[in-house]
Subunit: 740 residues, 2 copies
């Protein structure tokens, strides 16, 4: 399996790699910052669900917890830093297979002595509360002394915003250190506990000052004899306590007492077993002329796994996962539309939990709808732990005017309501989970439908959805956004379908729904086969976007034009109509698909990281292999490309989900059609083989594609109906079809 | 004049020099952190009086304000840092004469090109709100590009505690940047404003994100042609607004518009003129075999000047001045006993303001007395802006027990009451300021007397002061601490004296005071001529302290013994009795002085930075020249010595005051005796000349001492009575006396 590698110490990339090489397990994420301090290095450890408002007027944000990784290391009285002395060799690897981050350095100190340092760490996958770190130092040239200062450092902030009160710092029974912290507004308690094991005799002392609880370890270093320091840590919060019935303080100590004797290597082995199991059930294997493609997909799957809090349905996935503070850890439509599909096709129980998250917050969505004068449920554009709208009311201050602009998304970016409904239906189509659908699913569909019915306005005998923002945020406050209208229609249609299926007798809703379906205006392709993005889009002036496309993702257009000016031109951040084509592949004829893909791509800067991979899917399905592969590769570079600061504040979670989606829904062209799992592969010419597992209706399948042949094997579960390039089969054991 | 110099870039000293080389003006203090970032470098900018509680349970602390100094500099695409490339030469100087900090570096980048950097900065002494910085860069080897990112960075915290809400960040009229911040609890507004001037054409852009308002300046760098960037800043707060009647926001812009055209050099010149005037009136000139002595005294005077908020009597001097966050910027007895004397003898108006600070907080002191069951005024052990007791109720958590110990100082370290009263009398003795004494002075003396009278308890017909802590904090909760009892007696005696002088008719207080003076127990020297520090001290066991004295200042004894154990031995942090001998030089016969100095010194570790210089004074007066000079030198090394982390959290303000005091009250042996300014010099053998200005009764004198001769000249003012080695004179013009 591929590893993500960094073979040079380059400070310009320090925060990018800190995000990319995050270790985690869905419970916590730990940025891959170096043990030793560097100026401008942004440390970060986050626990899913632990949000807080720094002050009343600020939105909740994912709390950057006290650091347990930092180490001040002195050998022979000299501070270890890659900025001093000479780095003779450097290599860092994130091993997807084991979940371990590993760094090896051969360092020559200023005084000329050479030392070999190995740093290892992992966040356990089998027990989500456990962090393991291990340092190995070998002095190659001389007998000397090593001194290490490390502990729990609560000076961490979210870019200056402090969310935690240091309630208590302790040394317990002489060998455990523990810090207890409380969030200032949300009132969560976090217990961080750690213990140390060293090779040989050593001298440990502890101290606490200025929000740091530090242990100092001193030991003699013999020439050529490895010195090892293991630091095992645990994280428990009051959110866990709700489930465990044990205080975080006690749980942290109990767990550490249990694990500390095992030692780093044994704990890593157990965690790596869980990872092995995960990969066995989830890996996509690609044979490509470009090795990078395999890395990109492995990386995506690894990241989706560590960002998803599958252990607790009270939380969902933030826009940067648990890798950084971008978007304050908030949950957007990204989760349902870009992250959830992976889980749905590999471990549907996780998909169910993500939908349960929305279900649990229905009351707040209904309250938001009511507050805005609508019926049903209006889900917040940005969501966190409580389910209240977390979108900041005002954007960052405009430094030229000194004024803050109202953020329009929370007011008008209503498509999220239908996105959630769409995903509910997707979930059912794969799982046929009637238990969920009867209760949570139906309620979600009905409440979201109620919203759309009340949201539409009558004009000229038709129903219009006016003043919305579609996914394309460069076009605001428009009427009859095609994406929104089609999605709303589907939302209501599916609600009625399932109401009927389960015998729901809400006649009022049924009638209003039918009326809505009959009268809602759905923009149709014009004479040039172009579906208008909204009522006015196609009449707006066009400009040459090529220079902005060259630096896509940077939002450079906003340096040259105001938002208002951008709004008045045919300029797209991402293409709503292409997204629509992706979601309803059978709704539009192939010439319409091709024309719209071309037209809208020309007007799209791809400043949204959600854009490229969706284009890849639609292009692949349209048989435009070269184009789709190009989009796929470019999407892969959003995080993994050479831009040194593209991912400083975290990875692009949705984009990573979309890379998996491009592989599955584009190149393999998997979909669920008339209750069958359908494949209609469009593999890039550069690929010779694509193999992947799929779960469909609870059965575990394995699919192997080459340009010549498709082999679908049932690994476990009941027989399932499948469709391959239009031909139907019942998969009892294996179906092998020539694709030539 | 001496400069404080650093001639090597050594990261171990980075925070020490940041404290020592602080620039300031009593309004603000700006730590001497480097423009470029280094891990573990603690930036700090403080404004006198701006305190805040980070959370309700924490004490107020001096707020670390947003940083205006930090700069990210790139030349030829390479980030400037002394940790990379090669430092060909480095020199940094704090110029006491001009108040400017100057750094010159010849740097070779990793790519081999050489650049000369000059960084300059000052805090204006003529207009306290103005900061000037200037960067000059010369590319020596090639034509290239420079990029600088700098602005206002509100990610600063007090070791992780965030005190400020970022209310507004602005670019005003395209060229000024301004950040408006508000403290979370105390509600102060702070406006930081800055503008830039560059040599030549340049490209400036501005951005705001994550509590940073940043300006990016890009320019071509020609070979050999200096590029300069001037950044002028202003600081205004709502505390200023109380006086100016103008909002900080407006004031900051108006001032900057006024000053920015002048440019750095002209602004520096004006500020340096104020410094020149200051030194003319305050400098002590020492001719010594050790050049360091002059540096130590210049440094002390510089620091005392920049730590004293002479502009506003609502504040006083914190234990670290405005140089760091140690002791949270709180005001202790240090101010009256160690800082104020300098002002009293050089600019008595500043001394008056510092006493006014106490007077303004009398209501809180009376409330504290009442809350503790006493009458009169019990001043807080630690004070900040409001005058309430700011001593944390509990000490830092004991990490072994997990418990917090109550801090005893606020409960029992009552001598501060008498220290303030003592200083009121000192102030009067120099100034004969009847206006102050009739009103503020008398009220302070009366209320402090009331406290002592109510504080004493009757036992065996005598009055005892029980359960106190003297200045020596290694001995807690003792009865009849000699220092406290003598000081309380003097407090009441002086109150009665001035009541009589001004015809105060409070008969009750007069009678109770007389009774107190008659009956208060004053510990007398025993058969061995030793004055017992308290009732039990001399009966406690002794141990050999030599190893602890070797690392004095480190409180190493507390690593080997608990506080309770230390309390039960004859172990002193600083010697109360020696302090007593210093304050009442005529009260004890010379043999008692010598015996006590020796006895207590043997039992004193000098873990308090207030200790050494007081020993120097008492030894000097006792004629023990070698010993007193040794103490003086050791006191000078508390901040200026080689310990790399002695001053990380700020300079030792009281110790610096005491260095001036040792010179004046020890070596020159200046005192006021029977309304005369008395001198009885005891210059060290290493010194050949000591010359200094003095203000006495409003007259400006100049004193020049050699071992042979004393010359006292009246520079300005009325004739004043003086005394030289016991002989009395009326100084009309000049008095010259042989000392042989």
């Amino acid at each position: 399996m591929k590893k993500l590698e960094e073979n040079e110490f380059d400070l310009r990339y320090i925060n990018k790699f800190a995000s990319l090489m995050t270790i985690g397990n869905g419970y916590c994420g730990l940025r891959a910052t170096h043990e030793e301090n560097y100026a401008d290095q942004t440390r970060g450890m986050y626990v899913a669900g632990i949000y807080n408002k720094a002050t009343v007027n600020e939105p909740s944000e994912l709390v950057n917890l006290p650091d347990m990784i930092g180490m001040h290391i002195e050998v022979d009285g000299e501070t270890f830093s890659l900025q001093t002395g000479e780095v003779l060799s450097y290599s860092r690897q994130l091993n997807f297979e084991t979940g371990e981050l590993n760094r090896e350095i051969l360092w020559k100190s200023n005084s000329g002595a050479r030392y070999r340092f190995t740093f290892q760490r992992f966040a356990a996958k089998n027990d989500l509360h456990v962090l393991g770190t291990k340092l190995t130092v070998i002095s190659l040239d001389k007998k000397t002394q090593i001194k290490i200062v490390t502990g729990i450092n609560a000076q961490q902030t979210n870019f200056g915003r402090q969310h935690l009160i240091e309630e208590k710092v302790r040394v317990i029974e002489g060998d455990l250190i523990q810090g207890i912290y409380k969030t200032t507004e949300s009132g969560h308690t976090i217990a961080l506990t750690a213990c140390f094991t060293c090779s040989g005799e050593n001298d440990i002392s502890h101290s606490a000052k200025n929000r740091q609880l530090l242990s100092t370890i001193k030991q003699d270093l013999l020439t050529g004899t490895p010195f090892t320091l293991e630091k095992i840590g645990t994280i428990y919060t009051s959110l866990d306590a709700d489930i465990m019935g044990k205080s975080p303080e006690v749980a942290g100590v109990v767990a550490l007492r249990k694990y500390s004797l095992d030692g780093y290597d044994a704990l890593l082995e157990k965690s790596a077993e869980s990872w092995a199991q995960f990969w066995k059930q989830n890996r996509i294997k690609i044979t490509s002329t470009k090795d990078f493609d395999q890395l990109a997909v492995d990386f995506s799957i690894y990241q989706i796994e560590i960002m998803t809090p599958a252990h607790d349905e009270r939380f969902s996935v933030g826009a940067k996962g648990l890798t950084g503070e971008g978007y304050k850890g908030h949950v957007f439509w990204d989760t349902e539309m870009f992250i959830l599909p992976f889980h749905l096709f590999t471990d549907p129980e996780k998909a169910r939990k993500l939908l349960r998250y929305r279900y649990l917050k229905l009351e707040h969505a209904k309250a938001k709808a009511a507050a805005n004068g609508f019926e049903g449920a209006l889900f917040p554009w940005e969501s966190a732990l409580t389910g209240e709208e977390e979108t900041p009311e005002f954007a960052a201050i405009n430094i030229k005017t000194g004024k803050r602009q109202k953020v329009a998304s929370a007011i008008a970016e209503h498509h999220i309501v239908a996105d959630i409904a769409y995903t509910v239906v997707e979930y059912y189509q794969n799982t046929l989970d009637d238990a969920f659908m009867r209760k949570e699913g139906l309620e979600l569909l009905k409440e979201t439908s109620r919203f759309w019915i009340s949201r539409a306005v009558e004009e000229k005998g038709q129903l219009f959805i006016k003043d919305v923002i579609g996914p394309d945020e460069y076009t605001e406050h428009v009427d009859n956004n095609a994406f929104t209208n089609y999605m709303a229609w589907y939302n209501v249609e599916q609600a009625l379908y399932f109401m009927d299926k389960y015998g729901d007798s809400d006649r009022v809703l049924l009638e209003r729904g039918q009326e809505f379906l009959m009268r809602l205006y759905l923009p149709k392709a014009n004479d040039h086969k172009i579906i208008p993005q909204d009522d006015t889009f196609l009449s707006k002036p066009e400009i040459d976007l090529s220079c902005y496309k060259e630096s896509q993702g940077s939002q450079g257009i906003l340096m040259d034009y105001s938002r208002q000016e951008v709004n008045e031109m045919q300029i797209l951040k991402q293409a709503d109509v292409v997204m629509l084509l992706y979601l309803f592949p059978d709704q539009f004829p192939s010439d319409v698909v091709s024309e719209n893909l071309d037209y809208y791509e020309e007007h799209t800067i791809h400043d949204s990281s959600l854009s490229k991979a969706i284009h890849a899917i639609v292009a692949a399905r349209a048989g435009e292999k070269a184009k789709s592969y190009k989009f796929f590769r470019e999407a892969s570079l959003i995080d993994l490309g050479p831009n040194p600061s593209s991912s400083d504040e975290g990875v692009h979670a949705a984009s990573l989900g979309a890379i998996w989606m491009a592989t599955m829904f584009g190149f393999a062209n998997v979909s669920i059609k008339d209750h069958r799992l359908s494949l209609k592969p469009n593999m890039p010419s550069e690929w010779t083989e694509l193999a992947f597992p799929v779960i469909f209706r609870g059965s575990r399948l394995h699919i192997n594609l080459t340009h010549d042949k498709a082999v679908i094997t049932k690994v476990a579960g009941d027989d399932v109906p499948i469709e391959l390039n239009g031909a139907e089969y019942l998969l009892t054991n294996k179906v092998e079809v020539s694709l030539q």
